[in-house]
């Protein structure tokens, strides 16, 4: 407790020193005045000549390393836009690696907070997010915008410092429940899901959302050499469909065991991990009984973002790149509107920059949007992944998904788009 208080003093001291050193003329901000709405944003020039500070924490190694690298690139893209533009605003960015480990994530985030960053964009996984929220960002009053998807994030005691630009798995489950009923025409479904926070929360949320009957819910350990026994357990009550929540590598093995040891007539509902163009090269079977759902970027400025990302990094956008861009962009906009690198002030602007009645800002006019926010104009950030409107938990209020399936030759086919709102 005592140490916590000490740390906060220390940080605010560092933060104040840093701000004075950088801006030189910040003037009369006295710490902790109770001004909730940040009304000091009006005086233009001073705010236009600032350095916006933002930290990015994402997994670059560990289990999510492969997914995390493109996501990190997307999260730093708004900063590149500002650096390349002709503007008096500047950005101070620092990127840290969570290693997909809660402990490493805490030290990564703590490093950023100690260095005085008022806002943190990321990380990807729910487990690391929860650790950072509890140990770093909320106790130190730093805003965090995560990409974790588990419903539990909505319920965290965060003093409103935690936001997310990815949609909760509740929405994903409603989309897959809709596909189960309408496309697969299943009345009974069993689930087979990976035994971590992601798999369990998705399976539970599905059981809530599905209108038919959920027969068996089986969790699997991702390090098994064979999943036949687990499949047999999940299929023992003969469901119409089996919902498989797995990452690609377990998914391939589960499907191989499924087609080798069972009749292959049960419909398969797939999580995002089963959407992979190489699935047909790895599973020698008729894959036409698989239908699944994956999140896509479908916000107003997604096309501009896609071009920008491909030009900058020379590869296609992948899952969570849209949400990562939104996270950093909205944190920077809120920072510009707040007019100071202070966590609580940035927090108070998070909903303001996405409120519906302002000037429309997206990936294509981000820098102009930052200048508008800094000079006190009311703006509306319209996201890349979806419309960014935060509810009282700091969650996005809508999600866009796409169905996918495989044809007779094993090629991946994308189907219709599904939009899920509150």
């Amino acid at each position: 407790m005592a140490q916590q208080v000490y740390r906060r003093h220390f940080i605010s001291a560092i933060g104040a020193g840093g701000a004075v050193g950088l801006a030189g003329c910040l003037g009369d901000d006295n710490d902790g005045n109770g001004d909730e709405n940040g009304t000091e944003t009006g005086n233009g020039d001073e705010n236009l000549d600032r350095t916006l500070r933002v930290g990015v924490v994402q997994p670059q190694t560990g289990a999510l390393g492969a997914v995390g690298q493109p996501v990190t690139d997307a999260a730093t893209l708004p900063v590149k836009q500002i650096e390349q533009a002709d503007t008096s605003l500047s950005v101070d960015l620092q990127t840290e690696d969570t290693q997909t480990e809660p402990q490493a994530a805490i030290s990564a985030a703590q490093g950023l907070v100690d260095a005085g960053y008022p806002a943190i964009s990321g990380p990807l996984s729910t487990a690391t997010t929860l650790q950072i929220v509890e140990n770093v960002t909320v106790p130190n009053e730093v805003v965090q915008c995560t990409l974790g998807t588990a419903p539990v994030i909505s319920a965290v005691e965060d003093n409103d410092f935690l936001f997310r630009t990815s949609t909760s798995d509740e929405f994903m489950s409603r989309a897959i429940a809709q596909v189960a009923t309408e496309k697969a025409q299943a009345e009974t479904v069993s689930t087979l899901s990976i035994n971590d926070a992601y798999g369990q929360s998705l399976a539970e949320a599905f059981a809530e959302a599905f209108e038919g009957e959920v027969l068996d819910q089986v969790a699997f350990d991702p390090e098994e050499t064979s999943y036949t026994s687990q499949l047999s357990e999940a299929l023992s009550d003969d469901p119409d469909a089996l919902y498989v929540v797995a990452f690609t590598e377990n998914g391939i093995q589960i499907l191989r065991d499924f087609y080798a040891d069972f009749d292959g007539e049960t419909q398969i509902l797939g999580s995002a991990g089963l959407r992979n163009p190489e699935l047909g090269d790895n599973v020698d079977a008729d894959l036409t009984n698989i239908t699944g759902v994956d999140a896509i970027g479908a916000g107003p400025s997604v096309d501009y973002f896609t071009d920008l990302y491909e030009d900058e990094y020379d590869r296609e956008t992948t899952q969570f790149t849209w949400q990562a861009y939104d996270a950093t962009a909205v944190l920077l906009l809120a920072n510009a509107a707040a007019g100071e690198n202070d966590g609580a002030s940035v927090r108070d602007q998070m909903r303001e920059v996405a409120s519906p009645n302002g000037e429309s800002v997206g990936a294509e006019n981000l820098v102009a949007g930052l200048e508008m926010a800094a000079s006190g104009t009311e703006i509306t950030y319209r996201g890349v992944a979806t419309d960014v409107v935060f509810d009282e938990n700091g969650d996005i209020e809508s999600g866009s998904y796409v169905t996918y399936s495989y044809d007779e030759s094993g090629a991946l086919q994308l189907g219709e788009r599904i939009d899920i709102g509150e």
Partner: protein, 367 residues
Amino acid sequence: MNIATLLAGGRTRLGSHFFELLVGVGLAVLLFDLLRRLVTDALRVFDLLLFVKEGIVLGLVIGLAGIGLALTYSILHFPNFAHGDYITMGAFAGWVVSYVIAGLGSFDLRDLFLIGVRGDAGGVVVGTSVVQTPVAIVTGLLVAIAFTILATILIDRVIYRPMRDEGVITLLITSVGVALILRYSIAFVWGQETTTLTANSRPQFTAPGIGVQVSTHELTLVACTLVLIAGIHYMIQQTKLGTAMRAMADNPDLAAITGIPTERVVLATWIIAGGATGAAGYLVGLETGILAFNTGWTLLLLIFAAVILGGVGSIYGAIFGGLVIGIVSNVALVWIPSDFTTAAAFLVMIVVLLVKPKGLFEGVTTA
């Protein structure tokens, strides 16, 4: 005084019997419950038989992989933590050759070398399986054996031999180092992703009246395991080398005094253990159909459990221990959710060790 000692002794005896009694009662209850579930249809006979079959296959995988570990432990007297990565190494060496033979001409050599991790040469398109590409499979198996033998001898010459007389802890930590070097050398070339090895394991044979399917690759695994065990059994029991190995396992100093050329026996041990380990790696890949840089490391804990359960140093113990671990971790699904079944297998191992501290095959030092 006497009475107190007597009482204490009696209590200890009762205590140990009490524990065995408890285990017996527990087993009886589980067996009864299993029958009840089968009779009341809460558990399908098909499911139970499938669990047992999967358990046997997993058990043979673990047991086969454990033979090499049991051998080197009994002769060299240290647990080789690099064993798991010897398995991975053998699998990669063998499968690269299988891919090159199966896909030469139709695919780029570089893609074939990367066995589907990158490039176009995925398992399904190359079409590797026992039935479709028997030559590639047999050659791959032989290469896996040969390569692992050479690599284990090389590692022994360079690393283990200079520290032969060091303590167990030194050797153990060194072997962890060797494990890490091997694993990340493999990851450096082939990456950290899992790759699919085989196209399929067809044809499948359906056991008459039961409905459980057995694949060609599972039958191959069983056959190769039996051949390997028979071969090693003959070698250890019937040859002069085997006698020397058993002597060294019992008492290395005495063996050296008697004139047994210990270094040559060590060399022979590495050859046999390396060959068995390379074969195990290749066959594990064949049966599971997938391979990653950490496949062997992931299996190592189960392998150690099997070897300890069977009685450290006994190759039959390794096979039997593997079967117990495999069957328990699958049949446990009847009662507990699948994420706890490995824990159940280890619980069984601990219970066995409490009742029989030297493992199931205690005293039968075969190698």
